[in-house]
Structures are given as structure tokens and as C-alpha cells.
């Protein structure tokens, strides 16, 4: 199950996570670790770019749920962006748009963070 890849970069003091491939029960721990590390170093403004995410299972969705509270407690947020229609549908079924900020693209997500700060 190596068809999953995570890249992390920083843009305007916001951490952007790029997800590629299939996020399921096998690969979810990788993403979990990334979130853990970010929270450990007090980085709470996170954008998850889902442009190349092909599939997300319930275990993958669980990762976001596990950390959103911690992040929000510290006045941060996990924002999702660039979702394909298929992936959006999965998030949508569970009602993620009701709980999470899902932006059309990365720039929009970052802009939201900056405007909140101001």
C-alpha cells in the first residue's frame, strides 16, 4: 500500500499538507503522525490540500476528527481544500462540511486564516 504520499510545506506561516493517493486504515497512521508533530511544535494553522487524494475511507476521516478539537482549542483550524467531487462526496455524506471549513482551493483557505488573524 505504497500508493499514498504525504508532503508538508509552509506557506505564509501556515502549514500545508498535501495528500496523494489512497487514505485508508493502512495509511491513516502516517497522517496521524504528521498532525501529532504539528501540534507538538505548536503549529495550529493547517491546510490539507486534497487535490491528489483519490480515496478516503472512514479511518482516514477519523484522523481529521481526532485532531480538530485540539487544534481549535488553540485558536487554530484544519481547513480542507481542492477536493475532487468524489472525495467531497465522502466528506459530504458524513456531514463534514457542517463541521469543517472546506475551501475551493488552497489560496482561499490560506486567505481565510489570514483574515481571521487580522
Amino acid at each position: 500500500m505504497s500508493n499514498f504520499k504525504i508532503d508538508i510545506r509552509e506557506k505564509e506561516n501556515i502549514n500545508v499538507i498535501d495528500l496523494k493517493g489512497y487514505l485508508d486504515a493502512h495509511t491513516a497512521p502516517e497522517l496521524e503522525k504528521i498532525f501529532q508533530n504539528l501540534i507538538e511544535v505548536q503549529k495550529f494553522n493547517i491546510v490539507v490540500n486534497c487535490e491528489e487524494l483519490n480515496y478516503i475511507s472512514s479511518a482516514g476521516l477519523g484522523v481529521f476528527m481526532a485532531y480538530i478539537e485540539d487544534v481549535r482549542k488553540h485558536n487554530g483550524d484544519i481547513k480542507l481544500s481542492n477536493m475532487s467531487a468524489k472525495v467531497y462526496n465522502v466528506f459530504d455524506l458524513l456531514g463534514f462540511p457542517l463541521l469543517y471549513d472546506i475551501a475551493k482551493d488552497e489560496a482561499e483557505a490560506i486567505k481565510k486564516f489570514i483574515s481571521v488573524k487580522k
Partner: protein
């Protein structure tokens, strides 16, 4: 002289006279014969009987008597004794000779005069003593010869028996030759025969390889015995010589052939024991090394026993430490095993935590207490352990005083002076550490360490095997548990699907693993209201199964109270939110159908939408709603909605889990919502069962018959009114 030839024809004759009666009879006959000889000697003194044939007859009678004695001795002879013990026995025999000789000197009989190369007794006492002494000594020497035979035969090689028989024949020939001559006479044939006999004795005396196999202690004893016997027989050679003392004369007067026999055997004994003494002396420096090699061989042989002990771990590790003591003569030994740390386990005594995943545990110890082992492992001992674990090479501490790592062991009650620490390796991993101590400095040489290492390798294999067996037993047990859980979970699902004339229902649920997180249920709320619920717990396997069971409890209890699907889901969320893990959630779809009107109320909590098909047209019914356990109750209540659908004749409603829509062959696309819709769309006119099977077949085709990765549930309703 037939007597010595029988010696080689083994015990045939001997066994034939096994019973006590015949033995006593033979004894009496021999005694009688010797008595006749004695009477003859007495008569000879006063009457001149020195006629040739009478003397020859007298000699033959004596030899016959001794042949009988030989047969008797052989019949009670024990062959199986170890050579070293025989040596001790020979020493006892020489005492008999010694005492008799000393006695003879003290009594000092009148002796013999030599006349015309014949011996003439000077007094009656000389006759008596030569008879007594002749008999006692000859029998003793006979036994000495048997002892020598057994010693030589204890390590037989090609030629061993042949050489000994040659020597015997020469000894017998020498004896017979004396019959031709007068007692004090000697001829050149005698000299030649004597030289040949001595050569044969020398050849037989090189048969001393049995010495090599003696332990060091036995070798020391052997040197003492060998030396004593050598000295005693030299002395005996001298006193029994022809021109020697009264001892020699006495035997010679009694019987010249016997005298020759006694002298030859004594000479052979002298040479052989001399050789034994020298050989043992030369073997002594290597005795210790040989001892150790022997014990190494036997210990390594014991290793094969370890293989059979893999079923009992405690017995196995106990053997490992015991054998370690044996192989290197260590004072104490103990074994530590690296184990996985099971979370929540309270560390046992003698456990040392390595890191968060593994611990080192003392599993067996010999001649040392657990407290002392812990002392060794403390302070500098931790460094040693780390070096072993990282370096995977044996560590030898020749002197604890000299080594920084072992300063804390100076002055310990259980004295340790040197230490050998060897890793137990399995697939390049250290699975254990074997410790051996000695109370002398520089106690472990290279050989010791090599042997312990070789030993540790075998022990590692045995321990690893033992663990594998344990693991497979454990796996078997878990598998049985899982089968049981599967049975239990099956019982949580409806055993029978309710059926009504107006409503056909069909359901199916298959977990991807033994147990799963899918759930469906039906509840008859009253005479004309049926509740249908399909749920899916996030994740798979055991954790999902637990939440699934919890969901059933919640549904069964709440469904009787709340008559609106939305209300039930709100209550379910309230109940679950406290108990469910942050990462987990349950998606549920709940519909209540009016059995009179076909009116259906549907609420959804994050679950796949209901597929509704009517008149070759299919669509998804997707009221909003968060998955159970996802957000706060407040948001949940605020956002959840409910939709109404009215079923007409032939209409189909399909509830399912994402195992259907997300079914995906490896490196392929998902089954998807559109395909599902297409399948159901063309199912008008089919029964509920047929519809269900169509969906399953379509999914199975899509999967290329590969086994599904997710739990899969389908519930099909068909309105027939």
C-alpha cells in the same frame, strides 16, 4: 601346560562348569593332586625317588592342578571393570605376594643346596614352604596375568589379541622348555626364547591407550599405582630369579615350569606397569584439557536434548544454565531473555526495562540469587548489557578489579572474579544474554568463550523455537476466540427478516474479516409501523464490532420511544457521544415505514443515502445529518433533517453500506453510486431477493471476484400494494 591354552578358548569350559557343586569338586581334585605332590616331596626327602619319569609325572600333576585353578578363577572372573580399577586390584594382589615373601624371610627356612644342578632341600620346613609358596604365588601370578589381559583388551585394536596370544605361547613354551633341563641348568635355547619373550612383552606393553581416557584424578591415581606396581615387580623379579633368594629357590624346587611362568609374568608386569607409569606421567599435563574436551563433547551432545524441551520454556532455560556450568566449569550462570513489553503488565522481579517496547528478564539462574544478579546488572552492568545488545559480541572480563564496568562487584559475598557474557542471537537479533562467572581471575580463556558461544547459538535456536510454538498456540487460541466472536455477532443481526404481504424484505451482511462493524435491524413499532436501520461503524474488525453491539443496544431501546427517525438519531448521538472514541463514528440511516400507506420517513446520520427506484427511475434520498459521534450534540441537532417518501406498487428502497459503493478491485475504480443506481433501475418486476442478488452479482463482477476489503450490507424493501 594345557592350562594356558584354554585361556584363549574363552569361557566355553568355564560356563559348562557353572554350578557350585562342580566347582567344589574341581577344587577338591586340584587340592588332592597338590597334596599328593606334597607327600611325594616328603617321601623324596628320605627315599631317593629321583627317577626321571616320576619327576616328570610330578610336574605334570602340578600343571594339571593349576589348569583346574585357572578354570575356577576364570569362572568367577569379572571382566567389565575399568582398567584403572584393575590396577588397584593388581596392587592388592602384590600385597599378597609381598606379605608371603616377607613371611618367608622371617621364617627363614633352612633352604636348599645345589647338587648336580638339582636343588636338595636342607630341611623338612623347606619342603613345606616351597609347596605353600609355590601354590600361592603361581595362583597370584595367574590372576596378575588375567588383570594384564583385561587392561590390554580394554582398548582393542587390530593386532591387540594376536600380540597377546603370541606372548602367551612364548611364556608357555618357556615353561615347557624347563622340563627338559634340570632346575639349575640353562641352555642356549632358553636364552633365545627368553629374548623373544621379552620382545613380545615390550610389544604388548605399548597397549596403554586406555590411559588417555582417564580423568585427571584417575590419572594421578594411575601414576601412583603404576609406580608402586613397577617397583614391587622389580623387587619381585629379583627375589624370584633362579640364583636369587630363597623365594626363587623355593618355587624352582616346587616346579621349574611354574617358576618360569611366575618369573615371566612378573617381568611382563614390571615392563607393563613401568610403561603405564611413564605414559600416564606424560599424559598428565594434558589431562585437564582432555577432561574438558570430553565434557565439552558430552555437553554439546546434551544440546540436542534442548530441542526436545522446546515445549516447556522454564525447563529449557534451566537446562541452558545448568549446561553452561558444565561446559566451562563456571561457578555460577544465569540467563536473561529480551522480551516484548506488554502494555499494562506490572514488571516482575528481575525485570529490567530496556525501552518502551522491550524488557530484559532473568529467567533462570544457577548458584546465584536474584538479588545478586540484580547487583551485577546494576551500575556498570548496564553498560555491559548495552554493549552486548548493540555489539552482539561476547564480552569477557578477566578481572573484575581491573575493569571499570565491574567495580561494583568487588567484595561481593558470592565471589565473582571473572565474567563471560555471551549474546543469544537469532536472526541477528539479541534475544537473550547468557552470563557465566568464575571465582578465579582470567577464568575464561578463548576456548571457554568459543564453547559458550557455540552453546548460546544452540540455546538461541531452541528458545526461538519454543517461542514460535508458543506463538502459534496463542494464534490458534485467538483464532478460536475470533470464530466465537463471529458467531456471537451473527446473532446480533436479525435471525429472520420480517415479511408482510404488502412489503417484501431481503437483507444480507458479510464482514470482510471475522467480525465487522456493519449493522442492520428491524423493529415493529406497532401493528402498522416498521423501523428499518442500517449502520456502519468506522474502521473494521474487533473495535468496530464492539460499537456495532453498542449500536444495537441503543437502537433496540430507543426505537420503542421515538417515533420520528430524526428524534431517534438525536437521542442516539446523545447516548454515544460520551462513549465513542474521538476518531470513530457510526453512520446510520433509519427509516420508518407505514405498512398501511407505504409512507416512509427517512433520517440519515452520515450514512450512504437510500436508493429509491420507481418506474425505471432511481434516485438517492439524502437528508442532511452528521455521522453519530462526530460533532457536538448541538450541531447534530441543528443540522439533521428528515425526508418523506411514499412508496407505490413495485417501488424499491435499497439501504446499504459503503462496502457496496466503495467496492474496488486492486488498482481499479470504485463500484460507485451510478452503477448501483443503474443496477436497481432495471430491477422493476423482480422480487426483493432477486434485486439483492443482482446487486451482489454486479459488485462481485466489478471486484473481479476478489474478496472484499470492507464489510458489506444490503437491505432491500419492495412495496407490493
Amino acid at each position: 601346560m594345557v592350562k594356558k591354552e584354554t585361556l584363549n578358548s574363552d569361557k566355553l569350559i568355564v560356563t559348562s562348569i557353572g554350578n557350585k557343586f562342580s566347582k567344589a569338586l574341581l577344587m577338591a581334585v586340584a587340592g588332592g593332586l597338590l597334596f599328593v605332590v606334597f607327600i611325594t616331596d616328603v617321601i623324596r626327602r628320605s627315599v631317593d625317588l629321583d627317577i626321571g619319569w616320576i619327576l616328570l609325572l610330578r610336574d605334570i600333576v602340578i600343571l594339571i592342578a593349576f589348569l583346574i585353578f585357572y578354570v575356577l578363577v576364570e569362572s568367577i572372573w569379572k571382566r567389565e571393570q575399568a582398567p584403572a580399577k584393575k590396577l588397584g586390584f593388581a596392587l592388592v594382589l602384590t600385597l599378597v605376594i609381598g606379605i608371603t615373601s616377607v613371611l618367608l624371610f622371617f621364617i627363614s627356612p633352612s633352604g636348599f643346596e645345589i647338587k648336580n644342578l638339582n636343588l636338595i632341600p636342607l630341611g623338612f620346613d623347606s619342603i613345606v614352604w616351597s609347596n605353600v609358596y609355590g601354590i600361592v604365588l603361581s595362583i597370584t601370578m595367574l590372576i596378575v596375568l588375567l588383570v594384564l589381559r583385561d587392561i590390554i583388551f580394554s582398548k582393542r585394536r587390530r593386532g591387540t589379541k594376536r600380540n597377546f596370544i603370541i606372548l602367551l605361547i612364548l611364556i608357555i613354551a618357556s615353561s615347557l622348555l624347563t622340563l627338559i633341563y634340570r632346575p639349575m641348568e640353562s641352555g642356549s635355547e632358553m636364552t633365545v626364547l627368553f629374548i623373544v619373550t621379552v620382545i613380545a612383552m615390550l610389544m604388548n606393553s605399548f597397549r596403554v591407550s586406555w590411559i588417555v581416557y582417564l580423568s585427571k584424578r584417575e590419572k594421578i591415581l594411575n601414576i601412583i599405582f603404576g609406580f608402586l606396581l613397577f617397583c614391587i615387580f622389580i623387587g619381585f623379579d629379583i627375589i624370584t630369579a633362579k640364583e636369587g633368594t630363597i623365594v626363587g629357590s623355593s618355587i624352582l624346587f616346587y616346579s621349574a615350569p611354574l617358576h618360569s611362568f611366575v618369573l615371566n609374568v612378573s617381568l611382563f608386569a614390571t615392563i607393563y606397569f613401568g610403561m603405564t607409569f611413564i605414559s600416564t606421567l606424560f599424559h598428565l599435563p594434558t589431562a585437564e584439557a582432555f577432561d574438558r574436551k570430553l565434557s565439552e563433547v558430552s555437553s554439546l551432545h546434551n544440546l540436542s536434548r534442548l530441542v526436545t524441551q522446546v515445549f516447556d520454556f522454564n525447563e529449557l532455560v534451566d537446562s541452558v544454565t545448568t549446561m553452561t556450568l558444565e561446559v566451562c566449569e563456571a561457578k555460577s550462570a544465569w540467563l536473561e531473555i529480551v522480551q516484548e513489553q506488554k502494555t499494562g503488565n506490572i514488571p516482575k522481579r528481575g525485570t529490567f526495562i530496556l525501552d518502551e517496547n522491550s524488557v530484559v528478564m532473568t529467567v533462570a539462574l544457577k548458584n546465584i540469587s536474584l538479588e545478586e544478579v540484580q547487583t551485577v546488572a546494576s551500575s556498570g552492568g548496564k553498560i555491559i548489557r548495552k554493549q552486548i545488545l548493540d555489539g552482539r559480541k561476547p564480552i569477557v572480563i578477566d578481572s573484575i578489579k581491573e575493569d571499570k564496568r565491574t567495580q561494583h562487584l568487588v567484595g561481593m559475598d558470592n565471589k565473582i572474579s571473572s565474567l563471560a557474557i555471551v549474546p543469544l542471537l537469532s536472526h541477528e537479533n539479541v534475544i537473550g544474554i547468557l552470563y557465566a562467572t568464575k571465582d578465579v581471575e582470567f577464568g575464561f580463556d578463548k576456548d571457554d568463550v568459543d564453547v559458550i558461544s557455540a552453546f548460546a547459538d544452540h540455546a538461541a535456536i531452541a528458545i526461538e523455537n519454543s517461542r514460535l510454538i508458543e506463538k502459534s498456540i496463542e494464534r490458534e487460541r485467538l483464532m478460536r476466540e475470533m470464530m466465537l466472536a463471529q458467531e456471537m455477532q451473527k446473532k446480533l443481526l436479525p435471525q429472520q427478516v420480517p415479511q408482510f404481504p404488502q412489503l417484501e424484505i431481503e437483507a444480507l451482511s458479510t464482514p470482510a474479516f471475522e467480525v465487522g462493524g456493519d449493522y442492520y435491524d428491524f423493529v415493529l413499532l406497532n401493528d402498522n409501523q416498521l423501523g428499518v436501520l442500517v449502520g456502519d461503524v468506522s474502521g473494521k474488525g474487533v473495535s468496530a464490532a464492539f460499537y456495532m453491539a453498542e449500536m444495537k443496544g441503543i437502537f433496540q431501546s430507543l426505537s420503542k420511544i421515538y417515533r420520528e427517525p430524526k428524534d431517534l438519531l438525536i437521542q442516539a448521538q446523545r447516548t454515544l457521544i460520551g462513549t465513542i472514541d474521538r476518531k470513530s463514528f457510526i453512520s446510520v440511516i433509519y427509516a420508518i415505514i407505514d405498512l398501511e400507506t407505504g409512507e416512509m420517513k427517512v433520517a440519515r446520520a452520515g450514512h450512504c443515502p437510500m436508493l429509491f427506484a420507481s418506474n425505471h427511475h432511481a434516485s438517492y434520498v439524502q437528508p442532511t445529518g452528521l455521522g453519530l459521534g462526530m460533532g457536538s450534540c448541538e450541531i447534530f441537532e441543528k443540522t439533521i433533517t428528515q425526508e418523506n417518501v411514499r412508496m407505490a406498487k413495485g417501488d424499491i428502497a435499497v439501504f446499504y453500506t459503503d462496502g457496496v459503493t466503495e467496492a474496488r478491485p486492486e488498482d481499479g475504480s470504485e463500484f460507485g453510486y451510478d452503477k448501483l443506481k443503474d443496477v436497481v433501475k432495471f430491477c422493476a418486476g423482480k422480487s426483493a431477493t432477486e434485486i439483492r442478488d443482482s446487486i451482489i452479482m454486479a459488485v462481485d463482477n466489478h471486484m473481479n471476484h476478489a474478496s472484499p476489503e470492507d464489510d458489506l450490507t444490503i437491505v432491500v424493501l419492495k412495496w407490493n400494494k
